[in-house]
């Protein structure tokens, strides 16, 4: 393994760790809400044993809240599972919508923490690319992370995926202040090395206020 591959490998592990930590935090939040609802049920039973009548509407609300959290946890775990399997094959055909959905789900908490709104424009029709899904997710996350640093809190980022002659193009748009001094350098060696292994190209376009990632179909499978 050469130095470039080492960098990509370490960066990949760091990305995986960051996402896993965020997912575990989200699951802990879900468990905390279920735990409090179960505790409230116990409190209600305790009071009922002492003669206070039970209000069925209250129980219905509690049950609805638990169901909401189970749906939330199910979605988180489904995305976690797809993310975990994104390392399975170095070259596989995957729908761009699916990659985008995983990215949006994984980054939801980070987006919320930064006070940014991520607006996703779905591609017209199905669009499949042959690529290394984990590597592409890592690259798109690095672009999103940069985009969030550029726009700052309270602003929206548009994410759009579209077909190209030889693959797909992801556009992170509405990036105001791309030339501002406080913006971190981009792309760094890390993004450049990663894009090379994916046969991808990163284009930073301040005039269009966007970052574009062009991903070519892999033909080395």
């Amino acid at each position: 393994m050469n130095i470039q591959n080492d960098q990509i490998g370490l960066g990949g592990i760091q990305f995986f760790g960051k996402m896993a930590a965020s997912i575990s935090h989200e699951i802990k939040n879900v468990l905390a809400i279920i735990n409090e609802n179960a505790g409230l049920l116990e409190d209600i039973c305790f009071m009922a044993e002492r003669g206070k009548p039970i209000d069925p509407a209250r129980l219905k609300k509690l049950s609805g809240s638990v169901k909401d959290q189970i749906r939330r946890a199910d979605h988180i775990m489904t995305m976690m599972n797809r993310f975990a399997h994104s390392v399975d094959e170095a070259s596989v055909s995957i729908d761009v919508s699916e990659i985008t959905q995983i990215l949006v789900s994984l980054s939801a908490r980070f987006v919320a923490m930064r006070g940014v709104v991520l607006e996703v424009v779905k591609p017209a029709g199905s669009l499949a690319i042959t690529t290394f899904p984990f590597g592409l997710l890592n690259l798109l996350w690095l672009c999103l992370d940069y985009a969030m640093a550029v726009v700052g809190p309270g602003k929206a980022i548009e994410l759009l995926a579209e077909k190209t002659a030889d693959g797909a193009r992801f556009r992170f748009g509405r990036l105001e202040h791309m030339e501002a001094g406080a913006v971190p350098p981009f792309p760094t060696e890390r993004e450049t090395a990663l894009s090379q292994t994916l046969y991808a190209q990163i284009l930073r376009d301040p005039a269009a206020r966007e970052v574009r990632v062009l991903v070519a179909q892999r033909r080395d499978a």
Partner: protein
């Protein structure tokens, strides 16, 4: 005497139910879904304990803790969070957090920590009051 508690968490579903359960245990509970809202509520009244989430949008728990301690150094802050890193936990304790609990937490444990926080705060306030009285007596020479 009832404990006056401020709970700060961006998970409204968690906040509302925890508040209801603590109220049924005789506490006077105020809630805030952001650190900014919590700081505003601290302007209007004092609390025996502040239960603070570490991971919140806009202003995180660590930054909120710094602001709380700047505003009122005697504040008793109990951190209640999902899955903290060791470094964050250490940083929070260095900044003056009184205690730490990991979600999902046991309400009896949390209640106990709030009572302890209140007792600690009362001792601090009493000490400060005694010092003030002593200083006045010294300077006025009555």
């Amino acid at each position: 005497m009832t404990e006056k508690v401020l709970i700060v968490d961006d998970e409204k579903g968690f906040l509302d139910v925890l508040a209801e359960r603590m109220q049924s245990r005789g506490m006077e509970v105020t809630t805030a879904t952001s650190a900014k809202e919590a700081l505003q509520k601290m302007e209007a009244q004092t609390f025996d304990a502040i239960v603070l989430d570490l991971m919140m949008p806009e202003m995180g728990g660590i930054e909120a803790l710094q602001h709380i301690k700047e505003k009122n150094p005697d504040s008793e802050v109990i951190l209640l969070t999902g899955q903290p890193s060791v470094s964050k936990g250490v940083e929070a304790m260095k900044l003056g957090a009184s205690d730490f609990l990991i979600k999902p937490a046991d309400i009896n444990e949390l209640t106990e920590k709030i009572k302890l926080a209140k007792a600690h705060r009362m001792i601090l306030v009493e000490k400060k009051t005694a010092k003030k009285v002593k200083d006045i007596l010294k300077t006025k020479g009555w």
